[in-house]
């Protein structure tokens, strides 16, 4: 809300900032809001089980979160420009699903075997891009509300995967689809490298390039962005389509890791994605939050899950405990982050 400056002299704000932040702008402190929570969870984890801080276990956490982290990355970009994409979770299943359907030979793997294995990755990414184009067309070109469009798409795409797979799991994926999900580079799973690299790239792009800054400008005030000469529609197209392609990539990683495409792949992930982004400080009203914050958000969620698993909490109470910790992390992070949220 541009108009909310009530007090004509916001001197106290400045004073407070001096107190906490010194030379570091508050905005940047905010990115670190979750760091204390992460440290606490790490300590608790280590107390619960000495395994927690072992490299193996940490890699395990990173690997299991890598695919959903890509969804968080995509959603964060999209939220920053003040749009929304709920259909990412379905794209994550459908894109590799279509590839598997076309590539996997007839028989036990349930595919059609129409294309050679090498086509799998291009097809996956192309399906992702296509979904993005449809979403962008409906949202940007026809001016439909992003929430409803992508909610509709979520249902359609999920249904399409059930349809082509007949509800069955595709097995016998070609080696190209398995590669990223299974290889290790320098002793660390490739999917971790991919995830961390993409986050690093996104942090740089969003923080230090004019394309990245234009995302914030658009999310903050689209008319002002237009007036400043930003081609807002083009940026929105790029963001939405890239988001879907990233979701397809995430699907590829997950399919590779599980060596299969289940017909329910990705179902329900969008809740976690939003929770991570929002806990990580991304505003649903656009223009606010950083990639680093989003990353800490998803990291925190997966660390909590890992600790709960290690602690051997009775299965029936894991859900409630998980929720409570998330809620607590959220409240704490917002209290330390200061001020009423929007």
């Amino acid at each position: 809300m541009p108009d909310t400056a009530l007090a004509e002299t916001p001197a106290p704000v400045a004073a407070k900032r001096g107190l906490i932040g010194g030379r570091v702008p508050l905005a940047r402190l905010r990115d670190l809001a979750l760091v204390p929570a992460i440290v606490i969870i790490a300590i608790v984890g280590q107390i619960v089980s000495p395994v927690f801080l072992q490299p193996d276990n940490l890699l395990n956490v990173l690997q299991t979160m890598s695919e959903i982290a890509l969804l968080v990355l995509a959603e964060t970009m999209i939220l920053i420009v003040k749009k929304m994409d709920l259909s990412l979770e379905s794209t994550m299943g459908l894109a590799p699903g279509v590839a598997a359907w076309l590539v996997v030979p007839v028989g036990a793997g349930h595919g059609l075997g129409l294309l050679p294995g090498g086509w799998a990755i291009p097809v996956t990414l192309a399906v992702g891009a296509l979904v993005g184009v449809i979403n962008a067309m409906l949202i940007i070109r026809f001016g439909l509300n992003g929430f409803i469009v992508t909610l509709g798409m979520l249902i359609v795409l999920r249904g399409a995967l059930t349809g082509i797979s007949g509800g069955q799991t595709f097995f016998h994926l070609p080696p190209s689809m398995l590669y990223l999900g299974t290889t290790e580079w320098f002793g660390v799973p490739a999917s971790i490298w991919v995830c961390l690299t993409l986050f690093a790239v996104a942090i740089v792009v969003l923080g230090w390039t004019s394309f990245g800054r234009s995302l914030y400008a658009i999310g903050g005030n689209v008319d002002a962005a237009k007036a400043a000469g930003i081609r807002t529609d083009r940026v929105l197209w790029i963001v939405i389509v890239t988001g879907s392609v990233l979701a397809a990539l995430a699907g590829l990683l997950l399919s590779g890791r599980l060596a299969s495409v289940a017909s329910a792949q990705g179902n329900g992930y969008i809740f976690t994605v939003f929770a991570a982004a929002v806990i990580g400080g991304i505003s649903l009203n656009g223009g606010k939050g950083t990639m680093f914050g989003a990353f800490t958000g998803i990291l925190l969620l997966f660390m909590i899950q890992n600790v709960l698993t290690l602690a051997g909490i009775p299965a029936q109470w894991i859900g409630a405990l998980n929720g409570l910790i998330i809620l607590a992390a959220l409240i704490v992070s917002r209290i330390t982050g200061g001020k009423v949220q929007d």
Binding site: T4, A5, P10
Partner: protein, 514 residues
Amino acid sequence: MPDAPARAGDGRATEDPPVVQATGVTKKYGPTVALDDAGITVAAGQTHALVGRNGAGKSTLVSILTGLQAPDEGTVTFAGRPAPGLADRDAWRRRVACVYQKSTIIPALTVAENLFLNRYDRGGTGLIKWSALRRRAAELLAAWSVDVDPARLAGDLSVEQRQFVEIARALSFGARFVILDEPTAQLDGAAIQRLFGRIRDLQAQGVTFLFISHHLQEIYEICDVVTVFRDARHIVTAPVADLPRSGLVAAMTGENAATERHDRTRTIDAAGPAALNVDALTAADAYRDISFRIASGEIVGLAGAAGSGRTEVAETIVGLRVAAAGRVEIAGRHARPGSVPDALAAGAGFVPQDRHHQGFVPDMSVADNGTLSVPGKLGPHGFIDGRRRDALAAGMIENLAIKTPSPQLPVSGLSGGNQQKVVMARALADEPRLLVLINPTAGIDVRSKEFLLDKVEQTAQSGAGVLIASDELDDLRVCDRVLVMFQGRVTAEIGRGWHDHELVAAMEGMNLDA
């Protein structure tokens, strides 16, 4: 068209083509005609004023002259050459810089980034160099003597600071032609003078201005030529010297001879019960130890520069803020601090500072907005009788001459002046004993302004007390006395018949006794 397109700036013979020329421009928004075959010609070096009532099409012309929108018909030329394509924003920005009426500041970004949005400093890697950017921003702000840390979020700035950031940004492009759309509407006197000083410097360097304002005295102060728009059409262009104030107003309103306001005679019942009694009101960071009394039938001004605390005092009285200490009595009743409903129940009527922010609900109808604070009058048991509501609203529309086709129209569909009238109508809806008005005429054209102030006087005449918190001299002229605030304290009380400079000096904290 009454006049041929302006042969502007008669005095200065110009062989150069005009800096900008728009001819035959028509622009429609759906059924609304915002510009109808209108045009303007601005000669190099001129400071050209553009005036007209709310909704006359001024801002629409600005958006066409700055390439935000294409006209439906008509042409725009810069220095004789056709305007660039809409997509080529950089070409536009080389030709013309603009402070738009609507804020183009992005609150979530830093001041530095707002200043240099989309034209960042890049290092050798192609990445943005934030330190260089901040340095440049600091220099730019220093040049404007705006005391703001460039690393601050723009959303945390005061209205005035934000306005200056916009102005500084517009002028930093180095364009030789600058458009300012109501730059002074949010500024106090001192700030306006600072802006004008700066404009004069640039005028001396040959920069051309197109200046839009509802403060007519400003036109006379810094402009050479004035163009008047009315009802989406071009009416007249003339050197300011040739068009006295009455002629200007007549051109804007289409009526001859703007009626001079006659002083109404009001009886102030000084002995009777006070409409408002404020006693030792203190809020730690805004104002200290404020005490005054308003009798029924009395109009009291609360003047002061931005940041003097006048707005905060007024907001405290109606319950929008809570004071740390002190007491407020409205029509003899102690209102619970911080409760607007209580203040309204005690008999207050209220026009908030910024109508867009606190004044109305844009998607609700004129009738609903006008009756929002008087649910009790609309029907029994909290039910709303549509006919009763519409009748009430029709009364308001009639009484305040609100121009609307129907009480059912959403307020967002009204012009600014009429929106303000709706807010005013609501304040008057419950026959208030005390009327609290903050900047009641901001952004309102002259005609509507006179009209609203007239209503205020009528209300006082019927026995209500009125508090006007404003720094607009026109608003304060109707007051029986003016309390001047400076840095959170009441520093002077001035009776009727003051001179402008006297009041302005008091608002700036100068001690007149000295």
